[in-house]
Amino acid sequence: MRLAAFDEMLPEVSGLRRPYSAYDRWLKEQDPARLTEKMQDAERVFRKTGITFAVYGEQEASERLIPFDIVPRIISGNEWRRLTQGIEQRVQALNAFLDDIYHRQEILRAGRVPRDLIARNEAFLPEMIGVRPPAGVYTHIIGVDIVRISEDEFYVLEDNARTPSGVSYMLENRETMMQLFPELFQKIKVRPVENYPQLLRQSLAAVRPQGAKGAPTIAVLTPGSFNSAYFEHAFLADQMGVQLVEGQDLRVVDGHVAMRTTEGYKQIDVLYRRVDDSFLDPLTFRPDSALGIPGIMDVYRAGNITIANAPGTGIADDKAIYSYMPEIVEFYTGRKAILGNIPTWRCSEPDSLKYVLEHIHELVIKEVHGSGGYGMLVGPAATKKECQDFAKKLQAKPSNYIAQPTLALSTCPILTEKGLAPRHVDLRPYVLVSDRIQIVPGGLTRVALKEGSLVVNSSQGGGTKDTWVLDD
């Protein structure tokens, strides 16, 4: 089944869209053979610099490249302004929700979000009740996944409020494009994304603990070089000019978290952690975790370290909570959500479950706690047997699933052997929260490289594109 999708460059009805006009002019002057060559150049650059990720579950724990497409995804200044308003509002609401959930729980008292959904949720950390993080920020770095359906319809597909990844690809994609096509950037004014690492560093410094004197010491915490996103962890630490640490480098010394240096232990004030909550502190969470730091939660509760993002932020981006986001945004900002949600059926509700089972072949069904495109069913693309098997899983544990209509995600052309061809895309802009909210103009455009496919996840054969926000 093919969905009639809105193409962001060449929609069928109206012809070439304006944001792409300058690019299109340039493209028409190019020799196709040269473009193919550039495509190969790009792959060489990525492999050489080691921008790779490991794929879990593959026999050979090998490093793979995320395929990169050289046709940029272009967003006009106006479109971007609209998006950022919606994103800012949403991010404010997410932080307000987290503060509320771990304190007075007004939203539960008001009956806008069912109490059950919180209390029985693994992403809710009772250890965080009553804890107020430095500067009152819970989720400092957020990736909001956005899809487009038509000229004017944007929806939030998912909020990533824990440890969103992919920002290094945003930066390297731009770097690569500038290397491959310097003349394009002279012709077209594209807003820069390169300062993201500096903004991140400033943003992290701004939320340091009250007691931190002078310039705070910041570090990035990685699970280690075998983690699938290790490249990104190293990249960000490098670009920010801060230490890249592992759990084995850290311990609690005199009520502070400190790292083992060649000159002894040095205090850390802000930890940008890229390990999951449950691995953070073996004394508080998983006792078998070797990735974390025993006692860090005590230091945190005493206000002596900033952990970004705060533990327990997962309760805000849980897929079951997602369906309540319109209510959540309205509850905390007092205004209707500027960016809408995709209609979502909560399978825990009997009426919804009935509907979902009846329409399984039309819907996308996701695990509430899953991520990365694993454990989901794309109804229209699945065989009858796959649908039947999935229905059984669904009936066995309905509360584990949500369902959404299969949307005709917008497409953007990619360069194939046979020239340009449309492929479905989504967009993940990156948001930084400190005493202010900052959104870098751009983001990570993920593209489903297989014709007709709607799954853009890199672990499932998706690729990426450079994302241009025009300075117009």
Binding site: R47, K48, G224, S225, A237, Q243, L244, V245, T262
Partner: protein, 313 residues
């Protein structure tokens, strides 16, 4: 400021780059001997494996000493942790771990060396290709060294890297000498039969010094000169004295920077002083083998002390 774990990664990254190259050099010297003196080839390959510290492991795996077996084991066998392939793999894993401490050029040269050697060493090496494979290994490690020296800031990161390089190199040179010490002993021959000449050249070749030797000493090979060159010569980049000059220098940079001296400083300075004061005659009089065994032991201890003093673990 540098993490102890990062210092450890830098140290071992450089030890393994050095090792990857030394393996190629050893095979190169062995190959030359085997080609010129086919009747005692297996004995020569045995020495090569002893110098590489891999003889026992080799014998468990292979029935006999042939060029194909030894080069396979020392260059491409990933079950041998010191083979060129294993070494470059370990060097790269360490480089990946300390990536933030390296310049882009240095990281890329290591990554590219790993990619190209992985491709080249994927299948058994045809004997006809062996010379070009050995050249390629030396070229790749030379490129790493070139980007490293050309782009790295001379700070503590550089110091810990150099410590790894020179501890490994000193160990390697001492082992090569120790395996062949008997052919350098005066009791065997002062004259130098054809056989001895081959042996002596082989020693020099395994540290890539067979040409430069002639620039420094007489055209003829003399065992005392060879030993002098590899142990005491200040200008010869693989001699023990040269290695210790740099070990002491980089350790001093660290103690100046950090304002703190450790056990490793005393150990390195003691060895350096011993090398400075000694003459090759003293060394031969006291016993070359005893000298080398003692050196290897102290050098290993220095490595352990560096790890402990700078909180590698």
């Amino acid at each position: 400021m540098l993490l102890g774990r990062t210092a450890n990664g830098l140290y071992w990254m450089n030890r393994y780059i050095e090792r990857a190259e030394n393996m190629a050099r050893l095979v190169d010297a062995g190959l030359r001997m085997a080609l010129t003196r086919t009747q005692s080839a297996s004995e020569e390959w045995n020495s090569v494996l002893l110098s590489a510290g891999s003889d026992a492991a080799f014998k468990q795996k292979y029935p006999d000493y042939t060029a194909a077996n030894v080069s396979d084991f020392l260059l491409r066998d990933t079950s041998n942790p010191s083979s060129t392939m294993s070494s470059i793999e370990t060097a790269r894993n360490n480089a990946r771990m300390v990536r933030t401490a390296l310049t882009r050029e240095t990281w890329e040269s290591i990554n590219e060396a790993w990619m190209s050697l992985k491709r080249m060493l994927a299948r058994p090496i045809d004997e006809r290709d062996l010379p070009s494979v050995l050249d390629a290994i030396k070229r790749e490690t030379a490129l790493i060294r070139g980007s490293f020296y050309g782009t790295m800031l001379r700070n503590e990161i550089f110091d810990f890297s150099q410590l790894g390089t020179y501890v490994e190199r000193a160990d390697n040179t001492a082992r090569i000498l120790d395996v062949k010490y008997y052919v350098l002993l005066p009791s065997i021959s002062w004259v130098g039969s054809t056989l001895d000449n081959y042996q002596w050249e082989s020693i020099l070749r395994s540290v890539s010094a067979h040409r430069s030797y002639r620039w420094v000493y007489d055209a003829d090979y003399k065992p005392t000169n060879i030993a002098d060159y590899l142990i005491l010569n200040v200008r010869m980049p693989r001699s023990l004295t040269f290695c210790y000059r740099f070990l002491a220098e980089h350790l001093k940079f660290l103690s100046d920077d950090y304002g703190e001296r450790h056990a490793c400083h005393a150990t390195a300075e003691k060895t350096q002083a011993m090398l400075k004061a000694g003459s090759i005659k003293d060394i031969f009089d006291a016993g070359l083998h005893e000298f080398l065994a003692g050196f290897i032991r102290d050098n290993t201890r220095l490595g352990d002390e560096i790890a402990q003093d700078y909180r590698f673990y």
